[in-house]
């Protein structure tokens, strides 16, 4: 609430400063300085609050389960389901009717391009 009040007052100071710029330039510069400072501080604080709120969420990475048929090498990749574990035997293969098995469970993280450093 205080931040919004500061923002409104600062914007008002900016408008007022511009309006008296020609008639009272000395006062106008001081009013404009406070207007700019106030606006900058209020916007910075609001951005910080927004960033902090977005940071609060815990992001659950998607985990995939790979199911394979040892006999015909048929492979199926799906989202992880509760109860999955590596080497768990599952329903028969769609192609050869042999038992399928979970062979991998992992998450893939797409990392931003790494900063190059000479060491």
């Amino acid at each position: 609430m205080t931040l919004f009040l500061v923002l409104v007052l600062s914007l008002a100071a900016l408008i007022y400063g511009i309006s008296i710029l020609e008639t009272y330039p000395d006062i106008a510069y001081i009013v404009l300085l406070f207007g700019f400072l106030g606006t900058a501080i209020a916007v910075y604080a609001l951005v910080q609050i927004r960033m902090r709120l977005s940071k609060l969420r815990i992001v659950v990475p998607p985990v995939t389960t790979t199911i394979e048929c040892k006999k015909c090498s048929f492979k199926n990749v799906r989202e992880f389901q509760r109860g999955d574990y590596i080497f768990k035997e599952l329903e028969p293969c769609q192609k050869c009717n042999d038992k399928m098995m979970i062979t991998a469970i992992y998450r893939e993280v797409k990392e931003k391009e790494k900063e190059r450093f000479p060491y």
Partner: protein
């Protein structure tokens, strides 16, 4: 303008430290806010999972809150002789107590689910503790107006937050029973023993006798797929004793913390007992090895603290085959055909069967 400059100058001379402290307090406050959110989330996830899996008849919230405040007092170290056995006893009591509490909270959970729930609650407990310690220093700094009290917590804050984020990720992994980075060693052992008969060798540990490059390998791991690290110390000791010390080599595989700049999933080789924890298992392994003069080698998979407790990353999964190749090389180079070797995959086996 000049007056303004002098005013600012004088203010900074007299209140500079106070301003610096206020900035630090604000930074700690922001992190504390996030820690509180993560801690509450942990409590919520634990409660929801217990309700869903355990089908508790009454609301487990009060019991969870009591569990989160649980503490363990380590043994007295003034006379260190025999401290390992005292520590082992306390850890045993703690483990039994935790399992009993989880069973009371979630009566319908099977053994695997009980282990996973225990791990979930332990992660929630760690988050609760981190939050309380940071809050303690924050309030103490505010109360005493001491820059140095605040400074010491502000300096380690990035590392503390990293650990807290890791535990937050671990919560979901434990609740769903997903494999985690720490289980890299267990996964290697599982791959080696898959398709061979396993038997229980120690509490929560299994062993399989596997033909391995012309040698006989006794592959040891914690019993999965529930969240469990087992008792590798007892298991390795039992295998060595069963063979009257006639073991040519022990190879231990574990996840290890990487340094910044090192690649995730990098495989390295060395000597010594590759095992973390309070030290009881390492002590037992070393005792057995010394008794029979058995050489010990270690292969590690490097990973971040965050990756160790969060769902297994592809890079770590892909490193498993490289670890197996490295173990083969170590065994071929340092043992003769027909020898017996012990290969122990260390780590939490959550989400990894055998």
């Amino acid at each position: 303008m000049n007056v303004l400059f002098y005013v600012v100058f004088v203010v900074f001379i007299f209140y500079g430290q106070r301003i610096q402290m206020m900035v630090m307090l604000r930074e700690v406050e922001g992190s504390l806010h996030r820690l509180k959110y993560i801690k509450e989330e942990g409590r919520k996830v634990a409660g929801e999972t217990i309700k869903e899996i355990g089908k508790a008849q009454s609301d487990p919230a009060a019991r969870i809150d009591r569990f989160l405040e649980y503490f363990t007092i380590g043994p007295q170290g003034l006379d260190p002789a025999g401290i390992v056995w005292k520590l082992e006893h306390i850890l045993d009591v703690r483990d039994t107590r935790f399992k009993d509490e989880v069973k009371l909270m979630a009566p319908a959970a099977d053994e695997t689910q009980t282990n996973n729930l225990e791990n979930t609650l332990e992660a929630a407990m760690a988050l609760n503790y981190i939050y309380k310690v940071i809050r303690h220093f924050y309030l103490l700094g505010k109360k005493t107006h001491s820059l140095y009290v605040i400074m010491q917590i502000q300096m380690i804050l990035p590392l503390v937050m990293k650990e807290a984020e890791a535990f937050a990720n671990a919560l979901k992994a434990f609740a769903y029973g997903q494999p985690i980075g720490d289980g890299a060693g267990a996964l290697v052992a599982a791959k080696l023993m898959h398709g061979h008969e396993t038997r229980k060798i120690a509490k929560d540990c299994v062993v399989a006798t596997v033909p391995f490059e012309g040698r006989t390998a006794f592959v040891v791991k914690a019993e999965g797929p529930g969240g469990n690290v087992g008792r590798p110390g007892d298991a390795i000791k039992a295998v060595i004793d069963e063979n009257d010390g006639n073991v040519a080599m022990v190879v231990m595989i574990d996840a290890a913390l990487k340094l910044e700049g090192e690649e995730l999933g990098e495989v390295a080789e060395g000597v010594g007992a590759a095992i973390g924890g309070p030290g009881v298992d390492q002590f037992k392994i070393e005792e057995s090895l010394v008794k029979y003069h058995i050489p010990i080698n270690a292969v590690i998979v490097k990973e971040d603290v965050g990756d160790a407790v969060s769902p297994l990353r592809k890079e770590i999964f892909d490193s498993v085959d490289r670890v197996i190749e490295r173990v083969k090389q170590v065994v071929l180079d340092r043992t003769k055909e027909g020898d017996k070797v012990v290969i122990a995959g260390i780590g939490n086996t959550i989400g990894v069967g055998q």
